[in-house]
Amino acid sequence: MTSLNSTGRSMVRTDAAVIASVSSTLRRTRERAFISSATHLLRMLRHIPVGLVLAWLVIGVAVLWALIPDLFTSYSATIGVARQQLRAPSAEHWFGTDALGRDLYARIVYGAGNSLTGAFVAVGVGLIVGTALGLVAGSARSRVDGAIMRSVDVLLSIPQLLLSLSIVILLGFGTVNAAIAVGITSIASFARLARSEVVRVRSSDYVEAAFGSGGTFGRVLMRHVLPNSLTSVIGLAALQFGSAILAISTLGFLGYGAPPPTPEWGLLIAEGRNYIARAWWLTTVPGIILILVVLSANRISESFSRSRS
């Protein structure tokens, strides 16, 4: 600024210059802030585990398939299209068609409902019964503990597939029965984990304090011990979800799951087996989808156990 008694015009100009300089510094700081936030964002992006995001994405799509299958495909899962038998994958039929002209993509989408429901039932049975047993064993101690845990050990001495086959014989064939059978085989691992967690939590100070401040056995168990023991049990549930899908599809493949027209992933592969010479996609594609879902469930359960440790 050259003179103090300058005209209003020059005053304005100087003001404008000041404003300009201020705004340019502002802009610069804003740019810098933007750049720093961008690098921050990049750094954050680099820290996001891509595999884990993909895993959640796969599971999310599978759950959506199970919940609203008709939004994903316009074809029917059980009624074939005439003169469209055994078509290779194309723009019209993404995963090809089977021997009855049914769209394989539609069958996989609708099959997600069966396979995921089965897995949920299986994990539910294992989680509820196993955790209850572990909770009682871990908090009761002494004889009750010993009795429960020894009988759980007996379940472990019979190979899982044979145990689930024995239960399927008893309950009869079908998706839900196969799922319950698979769930019963996982009771042992849930009970053992829940028991060890309960024993760990029970010896902590806040549980002592809860008892000391007059909490009854049942109340302390429900309000303090159970919620604090659940984290690792949930991690196991995620892991069991993946292996339950596999085990149920194995039972389905052997023919003990859903009856034929039902689209179930294991059954799809079993049905495609008769056409391996002519239609590779009928077995290959459902298998890959199955592997992707199981891998994703396992990846998610791994992230649970990592965040715990």
Binding site: S157, P159, T250, T283
Partner: protein, 314 residues
């Protein structure tokens, strides 16, 4: 030591008895009747009295506790009942179906050991990180792969695309190649996982640092010092591996149409042939218990550190 031995054997017998009881409760005591399924078929034209006679000949008409004691006594004397579908003693059926499964399981297990050792060695020795992590993630991929799908995929590739192994009338060895490959994959996965975890653990031990500090190369340390210590703990999963082998054999035999214990199991479930399934369940539980017992007893023999500790305690 002998008291410990007796105690362990006693525990094993109790577990075995409990497993037998579980299988009895599941298969025999609860409703579901194979005899009715087979003989109520109207084409056979049997009257209710004749069916009652047949039931009596299978001792299916007595009360549950009596059946239980019958079955226990029979199992103890080596009489495992009659296969209702085949009409022959279960023991004969089992013996007839055993050889193919033993071949399949033995070869599959050996290949699985080779694959697992290969994967875990490469996951440590390869110079590139990305190759190492690739090998590290292989076992979790193997675990997530359905065995039946893998078998079908192998048939597709080797029999139909490459035409290396004929589908119809393959030679006795050719017929085993694909089933053994199929079975080896799910068995190798837990083995490789345990091996890799052990190697990681042993690598952090002080004696490894000492050996390295004395100038031993990484490879030398791995083979001379780490391998020995990492292999031992894999013995502890022997029982689990046996279960996996049996389950794998059921599925593999179903895919490849082999006539072993696995195929027998599948037919027994489909036809509700309960005596056969019960014998298979009890035998596999017995094998599981014996394997675990042997591992427990042999472990101190292989690991001198445990032996000295055991002697101090005793």
């Amino acid at each position: 030591m002998s008291r410990y031995l007796i105690k362990r054997i006693g525990q094993a017998i109790v577990v075995l008895w409990a497993a037998f009881t579980v299988s009895f409760v599941l298969l025999q005591a609860l409703p579901g009747d194979a005899i009715l399924i087979k003989f109520l078929n109207p084409e056979l034209g049997l009257g209710p009295e004749q069916i009652a006679d047949i039931r009596a000949s299978y001792a299916a008409d007595v009360s549950v506790p009596v059946q239980y004691f019958h079955t226990v006594a029979n199992f103890l004397t080596g009489n495992f009942g009659y296969s209702i579908q085949a009409g022959v003693p279960v023991g004969d059926v089992l013996v007839a179906n055993l050889p193919p499964t033993i071949w399949l399981a033995a070869l599959g297990f050996m290949l699985a050991v080779v694959v697992a050792v290969g994967i875990s060695a490469l996951s440590v020795l390869t110079p590139f990180i990305w190759v190492r992590s690739l090998f590290r993630s292989l076992p979790s991929l193997f675990i997530s792969t359905p065995v039946f799908w893998l078998g079908i995929l192998l048939i597709q590739i080797f029999s139909f695309q490459l035409k290396l192994i004929p589908v119809i009338n393959p030679g006795p060895w050719q017929a085993l190649v694909l089933p053994v490959l199929t079975l080896a994959v799910p068995i190798s996965a837990p083995l490789a996982q345990v091996l890799m975890r052990n190697i990681d653990h042993v690598l952090t031990e002080p004696f490894v640092a000492v050996a390295r500090a004395k100038g031993a190369s990484r490879r030398w340390v791995l083979w001379r010092h780490v391998a020995k210590n990492a292999v031992l703990p894999t013995l502890t999963i022997a029982g689990i591996l046996f279960g996996e082998l049996l389950a794998g054999a059921v599925v593999t035999e179903a895919v490849f149409g082999l006539n072993g214990i696995g195929g027998l199991t599948q037919r027994a479930v489909t036809n509700q042939d309960i005596a056969v399934l019960q014998a298979i369940v009890v035998f596999s539980a017995a094998a599981f218990v014996i394997i675990n017992l042997v591992v427990d007893l042999l472990y101190p023999v292989f690991d001198p550190r445990l032996r000295s500790k055991g002697e101090v305690v005793a």
